[in-house]
């Protein structure tokens, strides 16, 4: 944890550098190279598959009838309604004796805590109205991926009103610690917090400290059976950004991956311990972006990559249980939560009963170990509006905020829920993964109440040829890279 993000968290985040070495001999940092392993190809295709008790927790994310005649206010309302009590509890502990007020009840000059939703006012934030700007040069550059500027300001809003937060110490107040307590650059819109401070002349609220909902409580990790000889560990394989059917990608790593999971390649015994594979979004490349239907050739192109994807996933499914999450570039809706792949897109894969067409975000349990993951949009979007580029830090932040996608719906498309906010983190998962990231990063977050969450930023397979195995016993992570040096 470095720089500006570090001070935000109460939880300790340990990077993979200080990962505890695991007891068993896992396939750590396995490098499977096609050239070396050609002779390792196992003759015996029968793999003994470890089984796990699997529970899908996606009900929350499934939207049956998608009705779009509602506005977004309800979603924010639900968010604050649900996180409010949590925050209130935290405030009592953190700032004992400090009165908690609604914005409308804040009295000037009296210190208090206020709970509300943060709105970050940013002049660089893209707006649909930019399309109508007369002066074309005023349009923000489209290539920009960071929208922060030094004059971003924070507003806090509760059910009744909103007020401007003064984060830098006011004139005449040289309280250095207060200056360091809150910096708008660390915040994104949609986060629910409590702020501590005093209302000053002109309605500004001078903030001296903040309090987040904090990581939610966590169920204990199921204890390993206390038999004298512990059974060998089981694994869950996570892979993201396969971009199947992408003509520009090297097909070999994909084939190696398929061979590996089916036991044709590598250590069949280890492979057999993989209880399930989760494909974390962007199964297909960007084919869906091409205006289909306009051009018959393009349509065929898309159908072709779908077929390839189907074939690949069928291979995997034939060998082990599989969850397929949609990602931003897949032919599914864009609003979060993304709904599962339609049956017709992957006709043969879906014939297998052990294939889960799941939502994004996706939650599940393997032998009591809870997993939560997204295909990456939530973290990508948060990073556009904060000062740092720390992916794992942002993941830890979302747990701290008690919400996986605070920027939805402000800048991240989301379904206008009326009766709930599905992105709330009501229970801290044991494993939290985010797909389609630039590189593999692993960390362990330890919360103040003893929560321990494995954070995994999954790299795009098409670029890094890397998949990750998660050990269900000790939550250790083991990357496997399918580099092909044949062609080189």
């Amino acid at each position: 944890m470095t720089g500006s993000t570090a001070r935000l968290f109460h939880a300790r985040v340990a990077r993979d550098a200080d990962l505890a070495p695991t007891s068993s001999a896992p396939p750590q940092q396995q490098q499977l190279d096609a050239a070396d392993d050609l002779d390792l190809v196992s003759k015996d295709h029968e793999v003994e598959r470890a089984t796990c008790e699997y529970k899908c927790l996606d009900d929350l994310y499934l939207v049956g009838d998608r009705v779009y005649n509602k506005q977004y206010a309800h979603l924010y309302f639900q968010r604050l309604q649900n996180l409010g009590p949590f925050i209130r509890g935290k405030v009592k502990k953190k700032w004992p004796g400090l009165p908690v007020r609604k914005i409308l009840e804040v009295e000037p000059g009296v210190e208090c805590a206020v709970i509300g939703t943060v709105y970050k006012d940013m002049k660089l934030k893209p707006s649909v109205l930019d399309e109508y700007a007369k002066d074309k040069s005023l349009q923000p550059h489209l290539a920009t991926t960071k929208f922060v500027s030094p004059d971003d300001t924070l507003l806090l809003e509760d059910e009744g009103a909103r007020m401007a937060l003064q984060c830098r110490p006011g004139p005449g107040r040289q309280d250095a610690s207060a200056a360091a307590a809150v910096d708008p650059i660390d915040f994104v819109s949609g986060v629910c917090v409590a702020v501590r401070g005093v209302e000053e002349e002109g309605g500004h609220f001078q903030v001296t400290d903040v309090c987040f909902p904090g990581p939610a409580s966590q169920r204990p990790v199921p204890a390993p059976p206390s038999s004298p000889s512990p059974p060998p560990p089981k694994y869950v394989a996570l892979v993201s950004g396969l971009r199947l059917g992408d003509a520009s990608a090297d097909p070999l790593p994909l084939q190696l991956l398929a061979d590996y999971v089916t036991g044709s390649l590598g250590d069949a015994e280890t492979v057999g311990r993989i209880a399930r594979m989760v494909v974390v979004g962007n199964v297909l490349g960007e084919v869906a972006e091409v205006p289909v239907g306009e051009d018959k050739r393009e349509a065929r192109e898309s159908a072709k990559s779908l077929r390839e994807a189907d074939i690949f996933l069928t291979q995997v499914a034939s060998s082990m249980p599989l969850d397929v999450m949609p990602g931003p570039s897949d032919p599914c809706n864009v609003s979060l939560p993304q709904q599962p792949f339609h049956r017709c897109l992957l006709p043969s894969t879906t014939c297998y009963a052990n294939v889960g067409r799941v939502t994004n975000p996706h939650g599940f349990e393997m032998d009591g170990v809870s997993f939560m993951g997204t295909s990456g949009q939530n973290i990508d979007d948060v990073l556009r509006f904060v000062g740092h580029e720390d992916r794992v830090g942002a993941m830890a932040a979302t747990l701290e905020w008690g919400h996986t996608a605070p920027t939805a719906p402000d800048t991240l498309p989301a379904f206008p829920f009326v009766d709930r906010d599905p992105f709330l983190v009501t229970e801290c998962p044991h494993v939290y993964f985010v797909g389609n990231q630039p590189k593999l990063e692993v960390a362990l977050m330890e919360g103040p109440e003893g929560q321990r969450t494995r954070l995994i930023s999954l790299p795009r397979f098409a670029e890094t040829q890397t998949a990750v195995l998660v050990n269900l016993q000790d939550l250790s992570c083991h990357p496997i890279t399918f580099a092909s040096s044949v062609g080189n």
């Binding site: 998608r66 009705v67 779009y68 005649n69 506005q71 977004y72 206010a73 924010y76 309302f77 604050l80 914005i103 409308l104 009840e105 804040v106 939703t117 709105y119 707006s127 649909v128 109205l129 399309e131 109508y132 809003e157 509760d158 059910e159 009744g160 009103a161 909103r162 007020m163 949609g190 209302e199 002109g202 309605g203 869906a288 205006p291 289909v292 239907g293 349509a299 065929r300 898309s302 159908a303 779908l306 032919p331 599914c332 809706n333 864009v334 609003s335 339609h342 049956r343 017709c344 897109l345 006709p347 719906p409 402000d410 800048t411 991240l412 498309p413 989301a414 206008p416």
Partner: protein
């Protein structure tokens, strides 16, 4: 007020005892407010005066009580609110009239008729009711000042006939006039005093016509009250029976000058400047004698006033207090709020002190409870009468010098006043500075050549200037819509939330949270006018204009251009001892055919070589200066014969004017001063560093420019104060000649015969510019030639006429007279902008589609010089239009529903009727702008039957008549701009790209369509599918994945749009937790967000058809 009184009482007295006691409080106070423009109206004033007096008696009781009550309870708003309402208290010792001068900036000026103050008037007027001028303003500290200026008497001049009028006849003249005035009802006003105070003989000259002779005797007639001036004028011009001379009519001079203007001119006071009363010359009124709510009230004689020109320390603006107001009313369903019935439910007030960045007071008064709003005072009332009372109290306490708002003159203020009358809240009407004076409202029709005719209300609030941003912006800017939303989008760059008035009642009837919602909205609407005022620097610009032209600030918004010129002429004439004749307005003078400016014939075409533009700098003013055109240099033809030809100029239109060697005209002099001052201001502007100073200077140079240009208009305005078509016709004639002359010179000189590379060609000439194609492809070369030609031609003109090279158009698209577009270059490196004139880029009765297509075409043709690109763009747009791919908001046309019974049936009127039948609550009201789209009607439907509410069309999936848009909206403008470019511009409108047409099926089809059932069709190939057969035919089943992908792709776009649009609306409305209520139809995304929702539902249906 009482609080201040207490403070002041305790202040060390010094020479505090006023020397003179004023009797004003006792007399029949409450003057005629602003005197009006002509005699007819002045009678009005008089009547009002009497009514007022009468009313006064009834109300006096009330006010005595109120005054007592106020003293008993020193502050009405003890507690949290209202603590920052008042002006800063007076500083100690500031009131010592014997040792200190009083310096203040006056901002408003009126007069009242009251018992003469004996210390200031001539002995024979003691006890009479005479006009007393009241000047309101603020001093350096920001205290309000009201000065009662005594002793200034109304007067005018009468021309004496040649001979036959001896000094003895003067008294006879007076008596006869006196008699007539008394007969006309003057006795009542005079109250036993002479109506005609005195008549003196003065030696002057008339402004009209060149007169080489000596000064002549004129009678200066001084009257008791200003009303008598116009009365006398009527009598004298009609004919007066003078004993010994018989009935004779005389010409009057300066009898049409408003009393206030007369006073300002004679005291050399200009609008909004700083005044100084030297120490000892004035006396301060004791609190008990005060008749206004001003903090300082003084009496002064008019001779003592020192008027400071706006220079140095007197250039800036005082700490004027500006109150911005917005109200909300609870209308009934289906009706626009009416003051007779519907209550005022909220009033938002923002008080800003000029020069401060943020409002001092943000106050909202609500009927019914309202949850608190951060940073604003919320005052809730159970009864509307209390609300109105309190607001009136706020106005008096905050004591604004200027009241601003958006459409306050037509709506907010009259509504409040009418409402208060209806509820019999007597106290409400006392909003002005003067105690016991009620506000007056009356309907006026404002008519001006420059601004057109507008119905409006004139509201008199003594001592407070009203400045309606709506009126002002409508005057100064050409916009597609003047809704506050559009105006703030244009000038402040932000969309405004717009709550429909039918929604307001619901919010009011909700709970304290919904009322708070409304209050936030109302506060915002009160703040926007203030921000517009700041952004457009209106305070600087208008005060500057008032100073330059010498009229009070309030004249600038309520009167036309001519009063400004008239004021300057009067001032100049007075300096020269010239008298301005009171001409009868109206009617065209005979003998002078008045020809407008000529425009050289346009050689239409698309010029890809640079076209240089030579402009005459301030053409008309410089012609008037060069040829000494003025009222006082105008020569009657009979005089010309006896004069040397060197002494006069014959203008191209056949009039004669004396040369400046004989007599310098005053119009040229005024113009010289104006333009000279402008030059200085521009120079200072260049050197200025301070933002504030820059604002002042820029305001000044603009004011000067406008003023200079309006002088010509003044001489040509036949309904104006002093039309002189000899002058205006000469000016335009000179202008025409000069344009022709320039054209000839340029084509003669710049030709191959003289060794130039190409023959120059004059492609077009406007009123004051000539466009020349020198033939060179090189921009730099053309610019050099332009410079050279400008200088060459300038040398042939009389100074100060100057032809300037300003810019090149390259390329240049000339369509016809007054219609052209071009890329404007002032330096050869980078173009400045695209300049268009008379082309459908801004006109508001066009839909956005036309504006966008035309603008983009011009950009492509001119900036990218890509004609093919423009053509394919047009084809693409037409094709998209016909295939229903365009955003509906592009097709919305708006028209104002100004009256219901048009002779011919009109689309928007029919639509309004249709909408009223659907839902009376949300139907458009008279005065609303109605947006509509043209839908496909039944066969044979009339054009006016095909208009439809865009929202209704969206919700019911009505088919838009795309062909109509192509034929009636796009064709003409497109043909116009492509005519000079393409050989066959019609090819744009026919051909391959118009073949593919998509017609959405209407859900609510009329007639037979209502009985049809639409059968299921295959999503892939549109083949009919038997019932229950899914959504794909058997042939397409194999391609299910592709078809699904295609549909989902559409869904993705819609979802992303839905998100972008609705979150933007949340940002505008400034709340995450509350639903967006906005119905701003001017907003570009208003229809899009609705369409997006409708489309999403439809798409969702389609996708649901794929068995899961």
């Amino acid at each position: 007020m009482a609080g201040y009184a207490a403070k002041r009482g305790s202040a060390p007295g010094g020479g505090g005892e006023p020397k003179r006691q004023n009797t004003g409080g006792g007399g029949p106070s409450g003057g005629g407010g602003k005197a009006s423009q002509d005699g007819g109206l002045e009678i009005d004033v008089e009547r009002e005066l009497y009514e007022e007096e009468h009313e006064q008696e009834m109300l006096e009781d009330f006010f005595e009580d109120a005054a007592k009550a106020a003293e008993a309870a020193p502050s009405l708003e003890e507690g949290d609110y209202g603590r920052n309402w008042c002006r800063p208290p007076l500083e100690d010792g500031q009131l010592d009239a014997s040792t200190q001068p009083l310096v203040f900036q006056q901002i408003e000026c009126d007069y009242t008729i009251q018992r003469a103050n004996n210390s200031f008037v001539q002995p024979q007027l003691r006890g009479a009711s005479v006009p007393v001028v009241r000047m309101y303003g603020v001093n350096r500290q920001g205290n309000s000042v009201c000065a009662f200026v005594h002793g200034f008497e109304p007067y005018f001049y009468v021309a004496l006939p040649r001979g036959g009028f001896s000094p003895d006849d003067v008294e006879a003249f007076r008596q006869s006039l006196e008699r007539e005035v008394v007969n006309a009802g003057g006795a009542k006003l005079a109250g036993g005093f002479k109506c005609i105070t005195r008549i003196e003989v003065e030696h002057k000259k008339s402004l009209w016509g060149y007169d080489p002779g000596q000064v002549k005797p004129f009678l200066k007639v001084t009257t008791l009250v200003p009303n008598f001036v116009s009365k006398c004028r009527t009598i004298i011009e009609r004919g007066l029976n003078i004993s010994g001379l018989g009935t004779r009519a005389f010409e009057t001079f300066e009898s049409n000058v408003l009393f206030i203007l007369r006073f300002m001119i004679d005291c050399k006071i200009v609008g909004g400047n700083w005044l100084e009363f030297p120490k000892g010359s004035y006396s301060v009124r004791q609190p008990s004698n005060k008749v206004t709510y001003s903090q300082v009230e003084v009496d002064v004689g008019f001779e003592s006033i020192i008027s400071h020109p706006a220079e140095g320390e007197f250039m800036d603006l005082g700490k004027l207090r500006i109150l911005s107001v917005d109200i909300e009313c609870a209308g009934r369903k289906g009706h626009f709020p009416e003051a007779e019935i519907d209550p005022v439910i909220q009033i938002a007030s923002m008080l800003t002190v000029q020069g401060e960045p943020k409002p001092r007071v943000r106050n909202i008064m609500t009927l019914g409870t309202c949850a608190p709003i951060v940073g604003s005072e919320v005052m809730s009332f159970d009864r509307e009468t209390e609300l109105l009372k309190k607001w009136a109290d706020l106005v008096r306490k905050t004591d604004p010098d200027i009241i601003i708002g958006y459409n306050i003159l037509k709506f907010d203020l009259p509504y409040l006043i009418d409402r208060a009358n209806k509820l019999k809240v007597k106290e409400f009407s006392y909003l002005g500075r003067v105690k016991n004076n009620v506000v007056k409202v009356r309907d006026t029709v404002f008519s001006s050549k420059a601004y057109g005719t507008r119905e409006s209300k004139e509201i008199t609030i003594d001592g407070r200037v009203q400045f309606d941003l709506f009126t002002v912006i409508q005057r100064d800017h050409k916009l597609s819509s003047y809704s506050l939303n559009n105006v703030s989008a244009t000038f402040l760059g932000e969309q405004k939330e717009d709550v429909h008035h039918s929604c307001i009642t619901d919010l009011q009837n909700g709970n304290e949270e919904t009322r708070r919602r409304l209050a936030v909205y109302c506060l915002k609407d009160a703040y926007l006018p203030q921000r517009l005022l700041d952004k457009l620097m209106y305070m600087y610009n208008y005060i500057e204009m008032a100073r330059v032209t010498g009229v009070p600030l309030s004249f600038l918004t309520t009167r036309g251009q001519s009063i400004k010129v008239f004021s300057q002429i009067l001032r100049k004439a007075r300096e020269r001892g010239l008298l301005v004749p009171a001409k009868k307005g109206g009617g065209v003078q005979d003998g002078v055919a008045y020809e407008g400016a000529t425009v050289l014939e346009a050689k239409a075409g698309y010029y890809t070589k640079p076209v240089a533009t030579l402009d005459f700098a301030s053409l008309y003013p410089s012609i008037m200066m060069a040829h000494n055109l003025c009222y006082c240099t105008l020569l009657p033809p009979y005089m010309v014969g006896s004069m040397s030809p060197d002494d006069y100029t014959k203008t191209p239109s056949g009039q004669y004017f004396a040369k400046s060697s004989l007599c310098k005209g005053i119009l040229p002099e005024i113009l010289e001063e104006l333009l000279g001052a402008r030059k200085r201001a521009k120079k200072e502007l260049k050197e200025a560093k301070d933002e504030f100073l820059k604002g002042v200077l820029n305001g000044r140079q603009l004011a000067l420019k406008v003023s200079a240009n309006s002088v010509y208009g003044f001489t040509g305005a036949t309904v104006g104060k002093m039309p002189c078509l000899e002058i205006s016709a000469s000016v335009t004639a000179f202008g025409r000649d000069m344009i022709m002359h320039t054209k000839n010179l340029v084509t003669k000189k710049y030709c191959k015969a003289n060794g130039y590379e190409h023959d120059a060609e004059v492609v077009y000439g406007d009123t004051d510019s000539v466009m020349i194609k020198f033939g060179s492809k090189d921009l730099k070369k053309s610019m050099e030639l332009g410079e050279e030609a400008a200088e060459f031609v300038s040398d042939t003109f009389v100074k100060p006429i100057k032809l300037e090279f300003e810019k090149c158009y390259f390329p240049y698209l000339l369509i016809s007279k007054k219609r052209y577009a071009g890329l404007l270059w002032t330096n050869p490196r980078k173009y400045d902008k695209m300049d268009t004139k008379g082309i459908e880029t801004v006109r508001r009765d066009n839909c956005a589609l036309v504006r966008n297509v035309i603008t983009t075409c011009l950009e492509k043709v001119l900036i990218e010089q890509d004609v093919d690109g423009a053509v394919s763009y047009v084809k693409k747009m037409i094709s998209d239009l016909l295939q229903n791919k365009l955003d509906m908001s592009m097709l919305v046309v708006t028209k104002e529903l100004s009256k219901t019974n048009y002779a011919a049936k009109q689309a928007h009127v029919e639509l309004a009727e249709k909408m009223r039948k659907r839902d009376a609550a949300t139907a458009p009201q008279l005065g609303d702008r109605i947006p509509f789209v043209i839908i496909k009607g039944m066969k044979g439907a009339k054009a006016y039957e095909k208009a439809e509410d865009p929202i209704y069309a969206l919700e019911n999936n009505l088919a838009i008549d795309y062909q109509h848009y192509v034929e009636h909206h796009l064709t003409l403008p497109l043909l116009r701009i492509f005519e000079p470019i393409l050989k066959n511009p019609k090819s744009l409108l026919v051909g391959e790209h118009t073949r593919k047409v998509v017609n959405p099926t209407s859900k609510a089809g009329g007639g037979m369509m209502g009985f049809l059932k639409v059968g299921a069709k295959c999503l892939g190939c549109k083949a009919p599918i038997p019932k229950g057969g899914g959504n794909l035919c058997k042939h397409c089943k194999s391609q299910e994945a592709s078809i699904y992908s295609r549909e989902i792709e559409g869904l993705r776009e819609l979802e992303a749009d839905f998100n972008k649009l609705w979150t933007q609306c949340q940002r505008c409305s400034g709340s995450l937790h509350q639903d967006v209520l906005c119905t701003a139809r001017d907003c570009p995304i208003f229809y899009r967000r609705k369409k997006c929702q409708v489309d999403l539902v439809e798409k969702q249906e389609k996708i649901k058809g794929f068995a899961w």
